[in-house]
């Protein structure tokens, strides 16, 4: 095995100084800009979660004022959903990897790509302003009439922040769709694309079609608050429930914006670390599209106790089960991929195994909420909190962290500590379960969400949950340390340290600004593992 050399020419060395970064049109540098900004938001959002879990260790509500607590969970939700989860995988990994995966030099619209980062930053600044100005307490869902008429906090700057950052999401989606359609290398037809690209294509459709609806909804809340429009105010003939329809029409599909790209990451890692084609490639590819499409027709399952009719509830319950099937199909196909593979368990694969456990539980607990008879009891309890954290944190963040660990050598050209990365993957898995599993029980016991104080009988489970959160926090901080350390001291990774088959591994690590010196022509089937691939990776 020959020792790889760190390439002197690469996208990181092509230009120095702040200006070369802030005016870059290179998708890889923009991905790094996103990586830095979403990480900052992640830890800010995490800080609010620390406040929540500290408060809930005792039943009395004695650590923070109720208004402070309400602002904590609101800001935790707003930041994590709109400024971390939605951009996470697409804006960092998608941005970095879609062009090399399709054999292109950049996205279709490099300037728009940079613009979308700036829009994201401006949206983030509005939200940070809202925090500095005293916070906001409506919950991330901004339900009317509370948000429109009752709350005296900074609803308008926060809502504007979300509104603005939505355009970043729309532009990113648009850029991906055009890139995937128009920029593929000759011979790279749709069914040779990595499933990561399929997942991003499905996600981009939701971003482009769904995000405008939430933007319109936010404008309506703004108009109601600022000019007294009365769209949602029953005193003036409005309907507060209308807001929920509009909000969830976007925000339910938005869950798939968060999870679908992560599912794409899982396909890549499973295939690489079992050196085997994904079982049922086309089923996994089309299940992403099915989830994206069905995701648009299930929104009212958030409203089974909000006064929709019994029959409307039945229709939406039925449709909600339709999303469960493609999700199950993916899990079965990944599991089958492992069968007769050549499996190895570096950190990315450990994250995938953690993902299996958490996504299974997260997905299956969705059944309790799609089922009408049980949802009436569970709606707005900690069961729902646990369920969506299993999907959005257990699923999406495990996928994101797995992806970061998988492509880190490609992004920076160096390896991180194998030992510490495995420790962190295990800590995240254990800490996550300790934090959120007790919340399922709390929810069935009847503890409502967004409670600052609670009856004594819920304390034991809440203390367990807070203890788990401490472990989870440690699991999230560790990667920051060893990944930063690896930037300078890590071993040189070489082009293809995992022996992966994707096009992005054919370039040097870190890649040149142009990704490829020549447009790749000999395009293999997706996930084609032959002895030649391993030999060319120079691992042995």
């Amino acid at each position: 095995m020959e020792t790889p050399v760190y390439p002197a020419q690469n996208y990181l060395s092509n230009g120095h100084g702040l200006k070369s970064w802030l005016l870059t049109k290179d998708h890889k540098r923009i991905a790094i800009l996103y990586l830095i900004s979403i990480s900052a938001f992640f830890f800010l959002g995490g800080l609010f979660a620390v406040g929540i879990r500290l408060e809930l260790t005792t039943p009395q509500g004695d650590l923070f004022q109720p208004d402070t607590y309400n602002k904590f969970f609101t800001l935790h939700g707003v930041i994590m959903v709109f400024f971390f989860l939605i951009p996470s995988v697409p804006a960092v990994l998608g941005n970095f990897l879609i062009p090399p995966m399709v054999g292109a030099k950049d996205l279709a619209f490099p300037r728009i790509n940079l613009l979308s980062w700036y829009i994201y930053v401006v949206g983030g600044i509005f939200t940070l302003f809202a925090i500095v100005a005293g916070g906001v307490d409506t919950g991330w869902t901004f339900y009317t009439p509370y948000s429109a008429a009752s709350s005296s906090t900074n609803v308008v700057p926060t809502a504007l922040g979300v509104f603005i950052s939505g355009f970043s999401s729309i532009l990113t989606g648009l850029n991906f769709i055009v890139t995937i359609h128009r920029m593929r290398a000759p011979g790279l037809h749709w069914f040779k694309l990595p499933l990561f690209v399929w997942a991003h294509y499905a996600t981009s459709l939701i971003q482009v079609l769904g995000t405008p609806v939430v933007a319109i909804t936010i404008v309506m809340v703004f108009a109601e608050r600022a000019f007294g429009f009365g769209i949602f105010d029953p005193q003036r003939g409005g309907d507060p429930v209308l807001f929920q329809h509009l909000f969830w029409f976007y925000s339910h599909p938005a869950v798939y914006i968060m999870i679908l790209p992560a599912l794409g990451v899982i396909s890549e890692i499973v295939s690489t670390f079992s050196r085997k084609r994904i079982f049922g490639y086309s089923f996994v590819a089309f299940s992403s599209l099915a989830i994206a499409v069905f995701g648009f027709i299930v929104w009212a399952h958030h409203m089974f106790v909000s006064g929709i009719t019994v029959y409307a509830a039945m229709v939406f319950s039925f449709l909600s089960f339709s999303v469960a099937i493609p999700s199950a199909v993916k899990v079965f196909n990944w599991s089958a991929t492992l069968h007769r593979g050549s499996l190895s368990f570096e950190a990315p694969m450990l994250y995938v195994y953690g993902f299996f456990g958490l996504f299974l539980i997260g997905g299956l607990t969705g059944l309790f909420l799609a089922t009408l008879g049980t949802d009436v009891h569970l709606h707005d309890t900690y069961f729902v909190v646990a369920h969506f954290h299993y999907i959005m944190v257990g699923g999406a963040i495990m996928g994101y962290l797995g992806g970061i660990h998988f492509w880190w050598p490609k992004m920076v050209g160096r390896m991180y500590s194998e030992f510490w990365s495995r420790i962190s993957a295990i800590l995240v898995f254990v800490g996550f379960n300790l934090t959120f599993f007790p919340q399922f029980v709390l929810g069935y016991m009847g503890m409502p969400r967004r409670y600052h104080m609670y009856p004594d009988e819920f304390q034991v489970l809440n203390v367990l949950s807070s203890g788990g959160a401490a472990v989870l926090g440690l699991g999230y901080i560790l990667p920051v340390l060893y990944l930063l350390y690896s930037l300078k001291y890590g071993e040189v990774a070489g082009n293809n340290p995992w022996g992966a088959s994707g096009l992005e591994w054919r370039t040097q690590s870190p890649p040149l600004t142009e990704n490829f010196l020549e447009v790749p022509t000999d395009i293999p089937e997706a996930y084609e593992y032959t002895p030649k691939v391993i030999r060319e990776a120079k691992l042995v």
Partner: protein, 337 residues
């Protein structure tokens, strides 16, 4: 899990079935979690890479398998859907003979009114073994009336009545929670439902001061607000007669029909132009802001008392009495300030 309770008390007629459905889904979930976890862990050991050059077998996929693991979960999901939908239908349909109670959520308390005139805050006394229908609304923002031990809840939405029902099966004291976030003291908007033996319940009804039944308070309000000047029993007034209308269908000016129920009466008082009975001029003013939620409920009870046939299905009015814990009678009962 020694000492940690997993279920709240099951104290309503449908609570045991909700728990059974829950356990069914738990069993299905546990099966799939264990099966998939066992498979991937087994593969991890069985197919662990033996030497660095090893690659996996070339397998494209399998249509029969894809069909199998699409169709079986679909069937199981349909069982869940059907069972859940059937149960939901029961949870949402109050029996006709239910005892009616009005509930109003406001930041941050629950106000309950019994048709007998008793009013309570954050406490609700109900008899065991009798269906109770609660018409829920809100004075300000969204709330949600949640009885975990009865396994039911409904959002309290300003501007409309939302029905919730239960039949308590075990005497005792159970939580009432607000389950929809409503601002600063959301988590303080909790109370207790006290399920009593029928005799105790009668004693409770009899105790406390008197301010008349809801229908009687409504009748007074009906005169105070001068409703009686137009809504003459003879039918010769400027507004339709309100005698014997509840539960019936009326023909509207636009040619449609409407069933006269609480929601219809509520709308007709607050937004009087919305549905005009055929043959009448729309000259009734709106009472939006002029009558409180409690007053509105009392007016509706008064109008319902004018339809003795419809009321025959409903339980007999309970003696006029209010417990000492209720709000003191306002000077102009029900009318706002």
């Amino acid at each position: 899990m020694g000492g940690i309770p997993l279920f709240p008390e099951a104290a309503s007629s449908f609570a045991p079935e909700v728990d059974a459905l829950y356990l069914f889904i738990v069993a299905v979930s546990a099966f799939f979690t264990v099966a998939v976890s066992a498979a991937v862990v087994f593969f991890a050991f069985r197919y662990r890479r033996k030497h660095p050059e090893e690659i996996g077998a070339h397998i494209e996929g399998s249509l029969p398998l894809e069909l199998l693991w699409s169709i079986i979960p679909t069937i199981i999901a349909m069982v869940m859907f059907a069972w859940g939908a059937k149960l939901f239908y029961e949870i949402r349909r109050a029996p006709a003979e239910s005892l009616q109670i009005y509930a109003v959520g406001k930041q941050w308390m629950w106000k309950f009114q019994h048709t007998g005139g008793q009013r309570e805050i954050n406490e609700l006394h109900v008899p065991v073994g009798r269906p109770i229908k609660v018409l829920v609304t809100s004075e300000d923002v969204l709330h949600d009336l949640y009885f975990p031990s009865f396994r039911t809840k409904i959002d309290a939405i300003p501007g409309r009545y939302q029905p919730l029902w239960f039949e308590a099966t075990k005497p005792g004291r159970y939580h009432i929670f607000c389950a929809e976030y409503c601002g600063t003291k959301h988590s303080g908007m909790i109370g207790t439902v006290i399920v009593m033996e029928p005799q105790q319940y009668q004693d409770w009804l009899a105790g406390g001061g008197s301010e008349g039944t809801m229908a009687e308070r409504g009748a007074k309000l009906f005169n105070d607000l001068a409703c009686n000047t137009c809504h003459l029993d003879s039918g010769q007034g400027r507004g339709p007669s309100l005698k014997d209308i509840v539960g019936k269908s009326v023909e509207l000016a636009g040619g449609q029909t409407a069933i006269v129920d609480e929601a219809y009466l509520r709308e007709s008082i607050l937004n009087s132009q919305a549905k005009i009975v055929k043959g009448f001029t729309p000259l009734m003013p709106t009472f939006q802001g002029l009558v409180s939620e409690e007053g509105l409920a009392a007016l509706i009870e008064h109008i319902k008392s004018l339809s003795p046939q419809a009321a025959a299905n409903a339980p007999a009015p309970v003696p006029a009495a209010a417990p000492s814990t209720s709000t003191p009678a306002a000077p102009a009962q029900g009318a706002r300030r």
